[in-house]
Symmetry: C2
Subunit: 209 residues, 2 copies
């Protein structure tokens, strides 16, 4: 078939691998969020998609594998969001760090607070698919490290080991950005995020912001 | 009865209110740790103690109230431990802070890692009895604040608002000291605690330790 006319022949959408895969992930994500990871079965996902469980298993060999794809999609969105902020022109490194941390917190609240059952999916990923979580942590810390290195170069930060500082910074904000903790914070005990950010920027050699 | 001879007459131990209360808390603590909060009933606790559920209810009006007493006992032990470290003579504030944080982390690992079911008890306290958790957080932060104020006085720390800094410091170590997170850390992602402590002491105006 000539390439110039190939696009005129509609593809059978149901049978196109990437699209079916995406639809499975989409339906699974919604079910994990609303019904919960524990109560969702592969058969439920297949039924919603009006396909056989065997067809779902052509794309994913287990519910765990589906969850990994769901988590990868979510973490990919988060990483894309913070990379865009980290690349904002004309802002110094402390300001970009503050904006990235604020965005992680806001996104986490928006994404998880409304759906308590999403905890199950996160817990499952943490216990069964740690490498997916670890890869996300590594990519977030790479973005932090890049901003810290920029700050050292531009003279706005004083940090001896940017890689270690990025890891410490990330560990220090877990109370504000971890799906298992954000929805439980009850607001009472936690310092306001701007206070916390100023404290942590102090650890990076910035003072009096 | 003359006070001088009262101690010679043995009290009926089973009927002494504080002791029975303590035994209920002891048995409940063990059951929550080993069987889990969800699966433990007040009837189970009574059966272990060879008493009627009604007798348990004379001391605690619900399983939730028993859990609060268990959590208060545990948090009291932790607070006693760190208060003793915070009062160690001849150590400067940064060193005492480092030792308190290390002790909180070590205690948390020792106490929770071996008993995965203890999560249920912690989750129940966090969702049903937040004031008990909050009181613990407040007391830990009061100890941090006292050490930070000592450090400012002795010139080893530079902190404008010790109360806020204590709250930030506590929030920043949650990854190392929270029962819901410590047992899940898998070791891979987290900076070593001494690195994290040095980072956080930097936020308190200490450098190059």
């Amino acid at each position: 078939m000539p390439a110039a006319t190939a696009h005129l022949i509609p593809l059978p959408v149901e049978e196109t691998a990437p699209t079916t895969r995406e639809r499975i992930v989409e339906v699974a994500a919604r079910s994990f969020r609303e019904i919960g990871y524990q109560k969702t079965t592969v058969a439920d996902i297949a039924r919603t998609l009006k396909m056989s469980p065997a067809n779902v298993y052509r794309f994913f060999d287990s519910k765990k594998a589906i969850n990994e794809a769901v988590v990868e999609r979510v973490t990919g969105e988060i990483e894309g969001m913070i990379a865009a902020i980290a690349d904002t022109p004309k802002l110094d490194a402390p300001e970009r760090l503050a904006r990235v941390i604020t965005a992680l917190h806001t996104d986490c609240r928006r994404r998880w607070e409304a759906h308590p059952r999403v905890h199950e999916m996160v817990e499952a990923a943490m216990s069964e698919s740690w490498s997916v979580c670890q890869a996300h942590v590594d990519r977030i810390e790479a973005v932090f490290r890049r901003m810290i290195e920029d700050g050292v170069r531009e003279g706005s930060l004083t940090v001896a080991d940017p890689k270690a500082a990025a890891a410490c910074l990330h560990a220090a904000i877990v109370r504000y950005c971890h799906p298992l903790l954000v929805s439980r914070q009850h607001g009472t005990a936690l310092p306001p995020l701007p206070t916390m950010i100023a404290f942590l920027l102090g650890a990076l050699g910035v003072s009096g912001r």
